[in-house]
Structures are given as structure tokens and as C-alpha cells.
């Protein structure tokens, strides 16, 4: 399979990328290319210009402050998966990044690209939503910060404006996080995943809980009722079971090659229970 004809532009700076994307009708941004290039090979998209943003400097750092872990948009998913800093400050993100495709794809795929592609089966959207992360974006009108709940507009759609690019993400730190995913085999894209991040109140109760689902009809379905069930509890087994069931109830799972809605819904329940338990174990250990 060969991509359709297009022009290729390498942007040296963010300003250049924004300007070219704004002025060229039908232009598309390319970061690591691990989502866009397969679509190009199937000719599912036909950009006039592919704008390579992968060489823009300053967008590939991992930094942390007291509360926040900041990851640049061009950090590869393999770096996230292997970073000891991420593993310590956001095990949810370390898990989710490790779950993406395979190491060869992760060597090029980027955090910004994985989010901006907004594929319901991509793993980082749910990790962003569960972590209550924020996305920093830059466009023609300057920089803005987008709350995770406001980023995804639907499958393969985001609230990013035309010529607006993700430059980085800000994640509240928590050692109590986990991502559980079902892949039928290594080459499988994935059936479903559940992201969980929890913050304790310092006295054994849950203060903040974030739960989101990969693989539903929406991108990163947030399980609000499940979160509410957990908040204030000490995550006893029956509360976890109810939260897991509530997670499954929140996500509308499509029936397809990978399973029926009935199966996937049960799978989400199981994965949610496992993710919550693992997050709690990590929180207790951390």
C-alpha cells in the first residue's frame, strides 16, 4: 500500500508549523507518524501537505514539579514507558504507554500524536482523562490549556482548533494509578482498557478518583458514577465491585470482530476491578 500524493513540509519551529497548517487547506500535522502513516497507506486521508512537526525543539522533555508531571508532546511513547520518573510519579501513564502497540511503534509514536489522533482504541486518552490531566495547545491565537474532559469530541475528533497543536500535557502526580488492557495477541490493536488514578485524603480514604475506558464508542469514556462510588471509601472489595460494575455501565462498547457488546462490557468490569485494586496496592506501597 502506498500513500497518495502530497507535499511534505518540515517545520523547524512551532510558529512555522502553526502558520503552515493555518494557511494550507487540507494540511495535516505529522508527529511520529504511527497513526497517520497507516491511514495514509490505506488512503483513508488525503492531505495536501504533510507538516512534519517532529523536529520542533523543546517539546520532548519530561519534567516534574511538586504536584505535576509534565510531558512534552513529542516525547515518544517508549520513553514514557521506560522513564523511571514517569513510573514513580504516574504509574498509570507508564502502564498505558507500555500497552501501546509494540516497542518498534513506540520508538516513533508520540504522546501528542496518540492523543490528537483520538482513536477510541488508543490508550493514552483514557490515561489522560483518568489522571485529570490537562493538555497545553498552541495555535494561531496563542497558548491555551484544555482540560482532559474537554479534549475529545468524538472518535477521531478533538476540540483542537485548526492549526492548533498539542505541545505538552500536565498530569497530577499520583502513585496510585494503573492501566489494565486486554489484547488478544501482541499484534492486536486491543479490545478494551481501563485507566484508574486515585488520590488519597491522607487518612485511608479516597479523595479523588479518575476512571476512564478505552475501546468504547466514545474516546476515553469517563466513568463518573464509578468515581463517585470510590470517593470517600477505603476501596473495600464491595465498593470496588460496585465501581467496576459502574465503569462497565458507563461505557458503551461496540460489537465487532473483537467481541460482542455483552462480552466487552463484562471485560471492562473485570479490567476496572483489576485496575482499581492495582492502583490501591501501588498507592499503599507508594
Amino acid at each position: 500500500m502506498r500513500p497518495p500524493d502530497f507535499a511534505f513540509h518540515t517545520s523547524p519551529t512551532l510558529e512555522d508549523a502553526v502558520s503552515v497548517l493555518a494557511s494550507e487547506n487540507g494540511s495535516m500535522a505529522l508527529a511520529g507518524g504511527q497513526s497517520l502513516i497507516p491511514m495514509l497507506r490505506f488512503r483513508l486521508v488525503r492531505p495536501s501537505v504533510v507538516v512534519d512537526i517532529g523536529r520542533i525543539e523543546g517539546l520532548d522533555t519530561i519534567e516534574s514539579s511538586e504536584d505535576i508531571l509534565e510531558i512534552g508532546a513529542l516525547v515518544t511513547t517508549n520513553r514514557v514507558a521506560q522513564s523511571s520518573e514517569v513510573r514513580a510519579l504516574s504509574p498509570l501513564w507508564a502502564d498505558a504507554a507500555s500497552a501501546i502497540a509494540d516497542p518498534l511503534v513506540r520508538n516513533l509514536g508520540t504522546v501528542g500524536g496518540n492523543l490528537a489522533h483520538a482513536d477510541p482504541l488508543n490508550d493514552l486518552p483514557a490515561a489522560l482523562v483518568a489522571a485529570r490531566g490537562r493538555v497545553v495547545a498552541e495555535g494561531a491565537n496563542g497558548t491555551r490549556v484544555i482540560e482532559s474532559d474537554d479534549l475529545f469530541a468524538g472518535p477521531f475528533e478533538t476540540s483542537l482548533r485548526r492549526a492548533e497543536l498539542i505541545t505538552g500535557i500536565r498530569l497530577p502526580r499520583s502513585s496510585a494509578g494503573a492501566y489494565e488492557k486486554m489484547k488478544r495477541a501482541a499484534a492486536d490493536y486491543g479490545v478494551a482498557g481501563v485507566a484508574v488514578q486515585i488520590t488519597g485524603n491522607g487518612s485511608g480514604r479516597i479523595a479523588v478518583a479518575g476512571i476512564a475506558v478505552t475501546g468504547g464508542e466514545e474516546v476515553a469514556t469517563r466513568a463518573r458514577e464509578a468515581e463517585t462510588l470510590l470517593v470517600g471509601s477505603d476501596a473495600d472489595p464491595s465498593t470496588i465491585a460496585r465501581a467496576a460494575a459502574a465503569t462497565a455501565a458507563a461505557a458503551r462498547m461496540p460489537g465487532d470482530e473483537r467481541g460482542s457488546p455483552r462480552y466487552k462490557s463484562e471485560l471492562v468490569k473485570v479490567l476496572a476491578g483489576r485496575a482499581i485494586r492495582r492502583a490501591m496496592e501501588r498507592g499503599a506501597a507508594g
Binding site: M1, D5, A185, V191, G259, L267
Partner: protein, 771 residues
């Protein structure tokens, strides 16, 4: 000096490891153009118009053809296996019968432009009702795939041997199941590829083709295009896997050849993976209503299976005979006196099924081993014990099956017992019981196999195919230095037969392995041979090499006799030295003989110059290899995911020529069996589309899914000079049922029936939680 049995490094490897392999897509010739196809998006539709104008306007497009314009000038494609075949032309003219059928072809100066041009071909279709389910296809009023025939039923074979009705009537117990072996894909890592190079000035045509046997295809090509076979050359360079899927001449490949002949320029086409899943052949796809009649001790009295084979829309080479193989192999290694087997073959609006590693026999093994496992469970007999009570015992050999096949050699109970021992059967049972107490579900499953292989003697029932040779060829040419080039009719796709053949020849000629070069896959240089398929490399191709080598040695003996002034029958040949029997000091070396054979300087014209010989070896009979597999799995009952914890294979392939190669064949076969058991399925949606047409949906097992495999072997030499049996397909037969049986065992507390594969997580979970 003995090479046979030694773990010698493969002759094939250094070049490929250096990145210097030569697959068809690696070849470039001057003035070459590239093809791209327009394919049917419908399972069944009339083509109302094809507009090529857009393609023809695309800069760089050299030519474009549609079936509706050109089919009349295109040849019909026959089948090798039946008198009648559904008419099929390289590009379809007026009606498409499956998704992926080639409708138009665009040729351009480079591959990207060819795709650009193909995108601009405008085809109008009038969709017709289609039929995908074989049972539905057999029912009255079903849409007809080939309306002229008036039915979708291709044919029926019914074999009743012994007295099955009586056995079922008096049986203590009958176990019945509907068992399905799904449609799968060979999925060689190299998709199909062809480069057709015409020579208009002489009328010659060279076709570089990723294939499994160039000679047969040359005959067919000459037949189809009414060409002189002498002007046709087919070359299979390095072939990146075939597994049965590259025995054919496909419609699109013939379209490429047709266009090359029309235009007089070289045409190259390399299939995409997506095309391989729709326009490349599929395999298996049988549904069996099967039952066993048993006495109170679990002895099988009779086997009945009435089954349907969904063959798809057209015939490729072996399409109509693949399910026939299932019939006669359904009793496997078991002593079953009475059988009632009925096969109905059906057309549907899908791509054809074809040969695929273990074809016909893998389906049979799944049915027999699933049934026996269920019988053991229902009778409360241990599954190993159940099998031991029914396996053909060594003292029954030679054993004639109800279908008239004769098994010789081997100890089937011992193979199974060894597998049970290696898997630690009793320890696994203990572990299983412990695990169940904490809610974990481990299971152990067994299966045995009997691989009918070494296809196939020319006159044998298993070789009914027109223009399909049963023999294999070898030409050995020794040069004046005494080194040999071996021209083998085999056409390997990774089997390592250059190495195996060299080992056989080295032992006969008594020269170093490194002094032998093996070449294959070129009709211009290789004597007419059959190619590589059906586990025939060693047992047919190996014997051709053996006989040719014996003839070379005989000739060398005559030369030595002349040199030593003795009679040929008095010449001994040992360790590379010819001596006169009784006077070992009177000797000439192999090298001296080779030199003299060409130059006749010492003896003068006492013999015909040259040192070479050709052999065509037609095996006296088919062969059999056998073994037993054991699998231990854990099922995550919450998600339905199956993990293989341990896998044991104990095989008897007769004499193993190269242990590294033989183990690799078994590993690879088991990996494919794991895929069939747990992951792989070519699926069709209601419209006949193939949603599984990619490696992200059609899941090949990776290094994460195939566990470390434990192999052992027992050797019962076959009744052939080399003692070899066959091994290429061994791993594919027992592994799917062994794994399915292990899953059934793990889930026994849940009363789940495992009646089909693949046992993907959702499938297992749905079985455990019926609506």
C-alpha cells in the same frame, strides 16, 4: 563420514542473513512496469460498466484493462483436480463472485502511479443476493453461485465401511458433536509476487514467481496460454513462505502474464497484505456432525461424520480435493473398524479454500481428537487411558485402515505415553486441583496425529490431479575438481531442503558437505520436478537426490575401474577413495576420478566422458509420520483469555536428516497450530466483506504467544532407503485439538463445550456465559 543426522548449518543462511536474499520484489529489469488491481467490493454482483478513462488519463499509466473489455480475449483457467471447473478468467468480465475478485488492472511506470491509476477506475455494480453459509447454500432457494449448475452442491462422497449402523445400534454409549474448523489463511510473510518478462523477438517468456513448484506451473501456463513449454521459463527465487498457498496460478498472476504478453514489456506485481487476505486462497472451513459409537470400556466401535466443506466460489488447483483428504484420515492412529463418512462440497461467495500445511488432515485430527476427548469425559475414563485403549498397537502393524491405507512402523501408544511423561501429567493434575481451590483454571490436553505425507505416487489415489507429477527430480553434476552441483526439483520456501539434499548427497559421494552446491526453482536448469508441498521434501525429493547420487557413484566406479585396470564390480568406494577389493594399495581418489572422468588423459576412451546423473524418483507409496502432543493451558475465566503454559510434542518422523531443520519444522507447525487453536480466523461479515484482512485483525501468534516448546522424538525408520517419513506438516495436526482439549479440561467444572476454534477470549467467555 556421515552427514545424515548431523546438525549442519544451513546452506541457505549466509546470503539471506546478509540481506542478500533475492525475493521476487527485489528484482528489477529494464522497462519494467508495475501492476495494480481493481477488485470487487461485493460478494456477488453484476458488473454493469467499467470506465478506465480516469486511469488512462493518469500521467505515468501505461495501460489499463478491464475484464469486461478484455475477458473475451483472455483464456479460461482450468483446475488441476477435476474435469469441470467454474469458468474463471484472469480479470472477471460480467459478474463478481467474491470480495477481492480482480475486475481491472492498471499498469504504470512505478507502483505509486499504478495505485493512483487504479483508484481512478470507475466500476458500476448491480449487487446480487449472495450466500456465505454452507448450510444455507445447500438449502432450496439459496442464491446460486454458479446458476448454470442449478445447485451450489459441488459433489458428495459417502463411504460406509464395516457395519457402522450396527455398531451405533448396539453401542453402550454414543458421543455426538457438531465440530467446526474455521477458515484460516496461510499468511506467508512474503505475499505473492510475480515478474513476467516477455521476449517478443523470440516468443520466449520468463516468469519470476513466488511459488512452490515451477515445473507444474510451466505446464499449466503453456496449457492456458497455448504456448510452447520450451519457450517458457519459470523461476522461483527465494520464496518467503508458501505453506500451500503458492501452489497455484491465480487469476491476478495470470492477468499480469497476459498483460506482459499483450504489451511485450516486463510486468511486475507484488500483492499487498490486504489483497493476500481477500484474493489469496483460504483453507480449512469444514463443519462436521460427528459421532463415536463406544462400548462400555471406551473402545471405539464406529465413527460417523457427515460434514460439509465450504470451498468458496472457484476452484484453485487443489480446492475440490482438499476435503477428500479429510475422509480417509479421519480415523488417525485409532483402530476403528467401522466408519460412515459423508462429505458434501459446497460453493459459496467467498475466495477458494486450498491446500494449507496439514490440509485435510488437520481437520480430521481435530474432529477425531475432540470426539475422543469428549467420549473419555462422558465415560469417566482418563483421556490418556482412553486413547491407549484405542490406538493401533505395535503388534497390529502393519495395520490396514478401513480406508485401505497401510501403516507400518511406529509405536503410537509409546509416543503418547512419552508426551504424558514429559508434560508431567500426574503433576499437572495435582497442580490443576490445587489451582482450582484458589479459583484458577488450568487444563491439560492431549492429541495424537498420523500425517499422511510424501505426496504422492503418480498413479496413487492421492494424485488424481492432471499435470501434477508425483515424482521428484535431481540432477547431480560433478566438476573436474570433484565438487558437485545438485539441481533439485524441490522448490523450498524456507524448508532448508538445499541443506538436506546436500547432506544426502554428501554421504553418497563421500565428499565434504562444503563441496556441494544445491540449486532449485528454475525450469531452465532443473529437471522436471514436483516442487515442495505435502511433506515430500525429504521422502520424495531426498530419494531423488539419493538415487542420482548412487548413479554418480556408479559412474565414478566405472571410471575408477578403468583407472585401476579392474572390473567395476571389484571396485570398493570408501572414505572418498576407490580401491580394488583385496588390494587396498591400488587406489584412486574421488578427485582423481572426477578429473579423469572429464579429460580421459590416463585411460583414454574407455568410458563415456562426464560425471553426472539424473534421477526421477516416483515413490512407491505415500508415507506416514506420527506423534503425540500435550498442552497445558490456563484460562482466565473472567476475561476468557487462554495462555499456554507448556507444550510438548513427541514425534516420529523416521530418520531425521538435520535435527536443527527438523525441530524448526515442528516448532513452526506448532506455532501455526497455536494460531488456528486460539487466534486466527478469516471472517466474513454479512455482506461478505473480510474484516479480518490485516495482521491487526487476523492475529498471527508472536513470540509472546508461542511458548517455549518441548520436543522429543522416537525413530521408526520408514520402508524407504533413507528411512525418512515426513515432517513439514507434523506440527499443525495435533496442536489445535491438544490445545482445545486442554481448554475443555480447564473449563470442565463449568460444563462448557468446546466445539470450534479459534478459542479467542470473547469466544471462550461467551461459551461460559450463554445468553
Amino acid at each position: 563420514m556421515t552427514s545424515i543426522g548431523a546438525r549442519l548449518p544451513r546452506k541457505e543462511d549466509p546470503r539471506i542473513l546478509a540481506g542478500k536474499g533475492r525475493y521476487v520484489d527485489d528484482l528489477t529489469v529494464p522497462h519494467m512496469v508495475h501492476a495494480s488491481f481493481v477488485r470487487s467490493p461485493f460478494a456477488h454482483a453484476d458488473i454493469t460498466s467499467v470506465d478506465l478513462a480516469g486511469a488512462r488519463e493518469t500521467p505515468g499509466v501505461v495501460a489499463s484493462y478491464s475484464g469486461s473489455e478484455s475477458a473475451a480475449g483472455m483464456p479460461l483457467i482450468p483446475t488441476a483436480a477435476a474435469d469441470w471447473a467454474p469458468p474463471r478468467t484472469p480479470l472477471t468480465g460480467d459478474r463478481v463472485l467474491y470480495v477481492g475478485e480482480p475486475v481491472a488492472m492498471v499498469l504504470a511506470s512505478d507502483p505509486r502511479t499504478a495505485v493512483n491509476g487504479a483508484e481512478r477506475v470507475d466500476v458500476d455494480y448491480e449487487p446480487l443476493p449472495h450466500v456465505l453459509d454452507p448450510w444455507e447454500a445447500l438449502s432450496p432457494g439459496a442464491p446460486l453461485v454458479h446458476p448454470d449448475r442449478g445447485t451450489n452442491k459441488i459433489g458428495e462422497i459417502h463411504k460406509v465401511i464395516g457395519d457402522p449402523d450396527d455398531a451405533f445400534a448396539r453401542a453402550h454409549h454414543v458421543v455426538s458433536r457438531r465440530l467446526t474448523v474455521q477458515r484460516i489463511s496461510a499468511s506467508p510473510m512474503e505475499p505473492r509476487a510475480i515478474l513476467a518478462v516477455p521476449e517478443p523477438s523470440t516468443g520466449h517468456l520468463t516468469v519470476w514467481l513466488s511459488c512452490q513448484g515451477p515445473h507444474t506451473l510451466r505446464t499449466w501456463l503453456a496449457h492456458i496460454f497455448e504456448l510452447d513449454e520450451s519457450k517458457l521459463r519459470i523461476v522461483a527465487p527465494d520464496v518467503g513462505g508458501g505453506f500451500g498457498s503458492k501452489l497455484n496460478l491465480y487469476s491476478d498472476e495470470l492477468a499480469v502474464i497476459w498483460a506482459a504478453l499483450e504489451l511485450g514489456v516486463p510486468v511486475k506485481w507484488v500483492e499487498t497484505r490486504t489483497e493476500n487476505f481477500t484474493a489469496g486462497v483460504h483453507a480449512r472451513d469444514q463443519i462436521h456432525d460427528a459421532e463415536l459409537a463406544l462400548d462400555s470400556r471406551g473402545k471405539i466401535l464406529a465413527l460417523r461424520s457427515h460434514f460439509v466443506g465450504d470451498l468458496g466460489a472457484y476452484f484453485h488447483f487443489f480446492t475440490p480435493v482438499v476435503p477428500d483428504l479429510t475422509i480417509d484420515t479421519l480415523t488417525g492412529n485409532y483402530d476403528i473398524p467401522s466408519v460412515d463418512i459423508k462429505l458434501e462440497k459446497v460453493f459459496t461467495n467467498k475466495m477458494s479454500i486450498e491446500a494449507l500445511r496439514g490440509s485435510g488432515r488437520a481437520e480430521a485430527t481435530f474432529v477425531q481428537e475432540r470426539l475422543i476427548e469428549e467420549a473419555a469425559r462422558e465415560l469417566g475414563i482418563d483421556p490418556v487411558e482412553m486413547r491407549l485403549r484405542n490406538l493401533v498397537a505395535p503388534d497390529q502393524l502393519p495395520y490396514r485402515t478401513p480406508f485401505g491405507l497401510t501403516y507400518t512402523g511406529g509405536d503410537y501408544p509409546a509416543l503418547l505415553e512419552r508426551a504424558a511423561e514429559l508434560v508431567g501429567y500426574q503433576a499437572v493434575r495435582t497442580r490443576q486441583a490445587e489451582a482450582r481451590k484458589v479459583g484458577r483454571h488450568i487444563g491439560v490436553g492431549f492429541a495424537t496425529y498420523n500425517l499422511l505425507c510424501g505426496f504422492s505416487p503418480s498413479g496413487h489415489d492421492w494424485n488424481p490431479m492432471k499435470f501434477f507429477p508425483g515424482h521428484e527430480s535431481t540432477l547431480i553434476r560433478v566438476d573436474p575438481q570433484g565438487k558437485a552441483v545438485v539441481y533439485s526439483g524441490l522448490c523450498p520456501q524456507g524448508q532448508g531442503s538445499d541443506t538436506v539434499v546436500a547432506q544426502i548427497v554428501a554421504d553418497q559421494l563421500q565428499i565434504p558437505f562444503d563441496h556441494i552446491t544445491v540449486t532449485h526453482g528454475d525450469t531452465e536448469t532443473i529437471p522436471f520436478g514436483g516442487g515442495t508441498h505435502g511433506s515430500r521434501g525429504a521422502v520424495v525429493g531426498g530419494h531423488a537426490a539419493l538415487v542420482a547420487a548412487e548413479r554418480v557413484v556408479e559412474k565414478a566406479r566405472q571410471v575408477a575401474a578403468a583407472m585401476l585396470e579392474a572390473a567395476a564390480q571389484d571396485i570398493a568406494y570408501e572414505d572418498g577413495v576407490f580401491t580394488v577389493v583385496g588390494s587396498p594399495e591400488t587406489a584412486v581418489s574421488w578427485h582423481e576420478v572426477a578429473e579423469e572422468a572429464h579429460f580421459l588423459k590416463r585411460c583414454g576412451p574407455m568410458f563415456e566422458p562426464g560425471l553426472e546423473a539424473t534421477a526421477f524418483y516416483d515413490p512407491p507409496d505415500v508415507n506416514f509420520a506420527f506423534g503425540a502432543n500435550a498442552a497445558v493451558v490456563e484460562v482466565d475465566t473472567e476475561t476468557g483469555k487462554v495462555k499456554i503454559l507448556d507444550f510438548v510434542s513427541v514425534d516420529d518422523y523416521g530418520v531425521g536428516i538435520n535435527p536443527g531443520i527438523v525441530d524448526g519444522q515442528i516448532h513452526g507447525g506448532i506455532a501455526q497450530g497455536i494460531g488456528q487453536a486460539l487466534y486466527e480466523q478469516v471472517s466474513h461479515d454479512e455482506s461478505g466483506q473480510v474484516p479480518s484482512a490485516s495482521f491487526s485483525a487476523y492475529l498471527l501468534p508472536s513470540a509472546m504467544e508461542v511458548p517455549r516448546l518441548t520436543l522429543d522424538n522416537m525413530v521408526s525408520p520408514s520402508d524407504t532407503p533413507l528411512g525418512v517419513r515426513g515432517v513439514g506438516e507434523s506440527g499443525t495436526l495435533a496442536s489445535p485439538p491438544a490445545i482445545a482439549n486442554a481448554v475443555a479440561d480447564a473449563l470442565a467444572p463449568f460444563g462448557v463445550r468446546i466445539d470450534r476454534t479459534p478459542l479467542r477470549p470473547d469466544v471462550v467467555w461467551e461459551l461460559m456465559h450463554p445468553e
